[in-house]
């Protein structure tokens, strides 16, 4: 089996590897969003599993428990859970990333509890006291894992996990670098498949898969063709290739992203500090998510640069010609962030298409005309 077919297999059969490991007696801990450190779960010899939804399945059961004006991604995940699709999760951990996810913890826990359930509070504000607060919350999390597993937390194992996950991050950055050439050597759809595959498997296996994929990409014929618009995607959850494919089939290359399921979750390394929790705190609490609030700068320009400077670097380094915002409806923090980010990017001369969607493949087709019109404008 090639790495590409293995990746496609893992992407199509979501959770396949995690289910196998669960069946073999390993504990699988499911979690939402970017604020639950994989490394801590791995340090207890458990398998971290990033919970995903299913864009191609209707939300047919969740509405009896949660309002339809809640994030459809979260509702889709819960819909799968009450249908038994997440019965392989031994643990369930939810960070307070946003209003909907916070509510989801209680609704999920009440209706389909795992053996281990934990809520991780995460400050919205960023500053020294927030770091201390988050660290304490992580200590509570570790204590809860100790109580559940009967194991004693070993900081050395956390250091090892940090090293391992940093290796995975480095490999993913290496893979993302293959998107810099024009045309890029790897498509956005392939990247999405690889990232989704990695959400439900141990990091060392994912590293092996990434390495294999990079090798196969380098060995296959280099893509050629007319110049296509290079697109940067910004938004929240994209754990399905449907939208990325739509953009690429419309005549563009998706070359870089800032998504919860993309660079946002892996880009920055965890610093390898003497006390491993220090590194974890400084990395995870400072993830660039719209739900976090950076202290306001004195001028508008400085404030935007402070908030979006990293995106400015991304679009410059990956030579983006345009930016598409893909926002899953009812995400208040993204909805409020979007217009500010558009202002920032427009000043840099980058056109922006802002799309709000329902986390459903059945609505994707309706977006084709808008995407095509946007791409024509760029060309």
């Amino acid at each position: 089996m090639t790495s590409i077919t293995q990746m496609e297999d893992l992407y199509t059969q979501r959770g396949k590897r995690a289910r196998e490991l669960h069946a073999a007696g390993q504990k699988v801990v499911g979690y939402f969003c970017c604020f639950v450190p994989d490394e801590i779960i791995a340090a207890f010899d458990m398998i971290p599993y990033r919970i995903q939804g299913c864009m191609s399945e209707p939300i047919d059961r969740a509405d009896a428990h949660i309002e339809p004006m809640a994030c459809p991604f979260a509702r889709s995940c819960f819909n799968m859970a009450i249908k038994g699709d997440y019965s392989f999760l031994d643990g369930f951990v939810v960070p307070h990333s946003c209003d909907t996810i916070e509510r989801m913890y209680h609704i999920w826990r009440e209706n389909t509890p795992a053996a281990f359930n934990h809520f991780l509070n995460v400050p919205h504000m960023m500053g020294p006291s927030s770091d201390a607060f988050y660290r304490k919350e992580l200590e509570f999390f570790i204590k809860a894992l100790e109580d559940w597993s009967g194991k004693t937390f070993d900081p050395a194992k956390l250091k090892d996990a940090i090293k391992l996950y940093n290796q995975r991050r480095a490999r993913l950055r290496e893979l993302y670098a293959l998107r810099k050439p024009d045309p890029p050597l790897v498509s956005g759809a392939e990247i999405t498949q690889l990232l989704v595959a990695g959400m439900g498997m141990p990091a060392d296996e994912h590293i092996e898969l990434i390495d294999g994929l990079i090798g196969e990409i380098m060995r296959r014929p280099q893509p050629k063709g007319p110049k296509q618009p290079r697109i940067f995607i910004w938004g929240n959850e994209i754990d399905d290739t449907a939208f990325i494919k739509l953009v690429e089939e419309s005549g563009a290359s998706v070359v870089m992203d800032d998504l919860c399921t993309g660079s946002r979750f892996f880009w920055d390394d965890v610093p390898e500090t003497a006390d491993p929790l220090d590194g974890i705190v400084s990395r995870y609490l400072h993830i660039h998510c719209p739900r976090s609030y950076k202290p306001a700068a004195e001028t508008r320009e400085d404030d935007l640069e402070n908030r979006f400077g990293y995106i400015g670097e991304f679009v410059k380094t990956w030579h983006a010609d345009g930016v598409i915002f893909y926002i899953i409806r009812y995400c208040d923090t993204c909805e409020l962030e979007g217009p500010d980010l558009r202002e920032y990017l427009n000043v840099k001369g980058l056109p922006v298409l802002m799309i709000e969607d329902d986390y459903s493949t059945s609505t994707i087709g309706q977006l084709r005309t808008r995407v095509q019109a946007f791409l024509e404008m760029i060309v």
Partner: protein, 436 residues
């Protein structure tokens, strides 16, 4: 909007106290204009951010942007601000309070002056903007977005509380410490903005006033257990204005003392809201539909009265330990205790503090049915209502209903649909009361 075009939106109140609130609302915005003329600082604020008494102690005049959105809806003058925000790129499903606020700010910026005939004279440009993460996410993101329309020093604080399953003894110090640090950061920011240090004796005084107003508010609600109902929910949704936006002032204390006296008088004299009270309804949660508050009176025309609410007066009085001698630490403790008041009760019973509160209200107020309002653009007060309803169903067989519209966006409201649903709910209430 021409005055004579305005549809009826408000409800007829049951108490004189509630009828006085309209003037207090007007005064909020007038005070802001006056304050700036006097050189005082005016701050955009978010309700229930737990910092009100600090602002009062530092002579900062609060300008509640959410209340302004509700006011625009009650005056049916919200569309132009909603539309402006949507033209500026804000989603039609984003918090409609935020859309009205941002639309207003955007229009004021474009015009270079106050939008014409802005309700109650409009919101002046603030000197300071103060967000928080208490209650919902838009409370700091909205104010961050304000930077697009104005230049004003902006600061936000976290207001955090533990999940219900936490061991409070284990997490208490941790939460109180963080909350205190958040308040201290805010105070340092305000001292820089005002050039004046916080006077802690003054803060103790505003806390005393704030707590006394809220204690009286609580007392008035306890009195409302009396049957028949003398103070309906539409009054509650008025009196939240002095409770929140005059918090830390003698005015608020006087207001609630008058309210308590009036409720007592009405009970003694059996001055009921409706002559023949058939059904006692609990407003179970969700922001009220400010655009159509007369629906309370519509219910009353069928003998159904909303007698108590699980909205706005979210906190019963709490007892901060006597060893706390610093007012900032007191506020941190009070925040923690307010948010965790029913945690232990919930852990011992339903697992859900909201359910516990509603069950208490059902019992204490002899409730016949529970009404929830789901707002399409408010995640914080809407998500969880169905779950709450489902959990309540394990403990009570009362009829419960969830109506859907929005707190201020009339486009999400259908009068015909509401009336049909009201009819069905009334039938359910009648069926339950009918002898077998």
């Amino acid at each position: 909007m021409e005055e004579n075009d305005q549809a009826k939106t408000t409800a007829t109140k049951g108490t004189d106290a509630a009828r006085k609130v309209r003037a207090m609302v007007k005064n909020i915005y007038k005070s802001c204009h006056d304050a700036q003329a006097e050189g005082k600082k005016v701050a955009y604020i978010m309700v229930s951010s737990q910092y009100d008494e600090i602002l009062r102690a530092m002579d900062i005049v609060p300008l509640p942007t959410e209340n302004y959105a509700g006011l625009c809806a009650a005056k049916r003058d919200m569309d132009r601000f909603l539309t402006k925000a949507e033209e500026d790129g804000y989603s039609q499903v984003l918090c409609s309070y935020a859309r009205i606020g941002l639309g207003f700010d955007s229009m004021r910026k474009d015009l270079g002056c106050m939008p014409e005939n802005a309700p109650d004279g409009g919101m002046p440009l603030p000197d300071i903007i103060l967000g928080s993460s208490g209650v919902c996410d838009p409370r700091f993101k909205w104010f961050q977005a304000c930077g697009r329309f104005m230049t004003a020093p902006t600061y936000s604080i976290d207001v955090m509380h533990p999940a219900v399953h936490c061991d409070l003894n284990a997490v208490r110090d941790h939460y109180v410490r963080y909350q205190k640090e958040q308040f201290e950061g805010l105070i340092a920011f305000l001292e820089k903005q005002t050039g004046k240090p916080l006077n802690k004796e003054r803060l103790w005084e505003t806390i005393r006033l704030g707590d006394e107003a809220w204690r009286l508010w609580y007392e008035s609600d306890l009195l409302r257990m009396s049957k028949p109902c003398v103070m309906p929910s539409q009054d509650h949704f008025s009196v939240m204005v002095p409770a929140y936006y005059y918090s830390g002032t003698q005015e608020a204390v006087d207001f609630f003392q008058d309210l308590v006296n009036e409720v007592k008088y009405k009970i003694e004299n059996k001055l009921a809201v409706v002559k023949d009270e058939k059904y006692r309804i609990l407003y179970g949660g969700g922001l009220p539909p400010w655009h159509t508050m007369w629906f309370f009176n519509y219910f009353e025309s069928f003998g159904a009265v909303f007698v108590i609410e699980n909205q706005y007066r979210g906190f019963d009085p709490v007892e901060v330990p006597g060893h706390v001698k610093d007012p900032v630490e007191f506020l941190a403790w009070r925040t923690f205790l307010r948010y965790t008041k029913r945690h232990e009760q919930a852990r011992a019973n339903s697992g859900n503090p909201v359910v516990e509160r509603i069950l208490d209200l059902i019992k204490d107020y002899d409730i016949d049915g529970v009404f929830f309002h789901a707002c399409r653009s408010c995640r914080a007060t809407t998500i969880g209502q169905i779950h709450t309803k489902n959990t309540l169903g394990r403990y009570t067989d009362l009829p419960m209903t969830q109506f859907v519209s929005d707190m201020v966006d009339l486009r999400d409201y259908s009068e015909a649909q509401w009336k049909a649903q009201i009819e069905a709910f009334l039938e359910a209430l009648a069926a339950r009361k009918r002898p077998l």
